[in-house]
């Protein structure tokens, strides 16, 4: 950003000084933003990791239960039992603002929320009890999955924002601000040099007149 062939005028100097001031203020603000984002991100990513571990473990258990259920029932019976669900889950998404990053907040809506049996859309005569357990377990995992989704998405979006902010902070800190300072210095030196030139000229002129 160092401009060497600038017009060495007072107007240019005051313009650059103003720019420098704004750049420094922006740098300070962005740096604060970056620090705060980082603080929140670290807390969030720790939670993300814990939630993922929990989810993976519980889901693994559930799959095992389903495997057991599948082994005590004929496969076509199992498929028939779970292929036509009564329940319908949908999602409401809200926008949440975290330090200028818009992250989703989610809420699950069950169509038959007042019917606790709606997740068992089959008759109990032909199906194994193991299947009921597996489904109940899977249903209990849904909130964990949902929380994980929120946290993980927020982490992804925040990581992106942190990277962007860091680039901006660095660009200001290592390119824009030193460049402006350097240019201001060059203009100052040129102006000073002009002034000294004028003084010398005046002294010389005075000398010639006096002779």
């Amino acid at each position: 950003m160092v401009k060497r062939n600038v017009h060495a005028t007072r107007m240019e100097l005051s313009r650059l000084k103003k720019r420098l001031e704004i750049a420094e203020r922006g740098h300070k603000l962005l740096k604060d933003k970056q620090d705060e984002l980082m603080r929140r991100f670290i807390a969030l990513i720790k939670k993300n990791k814990q939630l993922r571990q929990k989810m993976e473990k519980e889901l693994k258990d559930t799959f095992q239960d389903f495997l057991i259920a599948a082994s005590v029932m004929p496969p076509e019976m199992l498929e028939g039992a779970i292929s036509f669900p009564k329940e319908k889950m949908s999602l409401e998404i809200f926008r949440k603002n975290v330090m200028g990053v818009v992250v989703p907040a989610m809420k699950v809506k069950r169509k038959l929320a007042d019917d606790p049996g709606s997740i068992y859309p089959y008759g109990f005569v032909q199906t194994a009890a193991e299947l009921d357990d597996a489904i109940a377990k899977l249903y209990r995992i849904i909130p964990v999955l949902l929380e994980l989704t929120e946290v993980e998405k927020a982490c992804q979006l925040m990581a992106d924002e942190i990277e962007k902010t860091r680039r901006r902070v660095n660009a200001l800190e290592y390119r824009t601000i030193p460049g402006l300072e350097e240019t201001i210095k060059i203009i100052r030196m040129k102006l000073d040099e002009n002034e000294r030139g004028t003084i010398t000229r005046l002294i010389k002129v005075k000398d010639i007149i006096n002779k």
Partner: protein
């Protein structure tokens, strides 16, 4: 109102159907990619098994920067491949520069 979708091989994801979550069984890379891209327009969350996600890393990455959908990797009935964890670690390296939770 958004959908919740699960994408993966039949044996792993069929269980989700009973809860009223939309289940899409896929096999092969092309089918997986088309399914995810189509779902991205209407689904709020796409749960995808790691074994399927492994085939289409570029497609999944593309949705990381978007507000919705959230593409979340889940293990399948053969266990986890640790891709989900790796994604968290990568995310951290991107933001912090180093992995600080190791």
């Amino acid at each position: 109102m958004h959908k919740i979708a699960v994408v993966g091989d039949k044996d792993s994801v069929l269980a989700f159907k009973v809860l009223g979550i939309d289940v899409y069984t896929v096999s092969g890379e092309k089918e997986a990619r088309i399914t995810v891209d189509r779902l991205a327009e209407e689904a709020g969350i796409i749960f995808i098994t790691e074994r399927t996600a492994r085939l289409i890393p570029k497609t999944i990455e593309r949705y990381d920067k978007k507000f919705i959908p959230a593409v979340i990797l889940i293990p399948d009935n053969q266990g986890t491949l640790n891709i989900g964890m790796e994604r968290i670690n990568k995310n951290m390296e991107k933001a912090v520069g180093v992995n600080i939770l190791e």
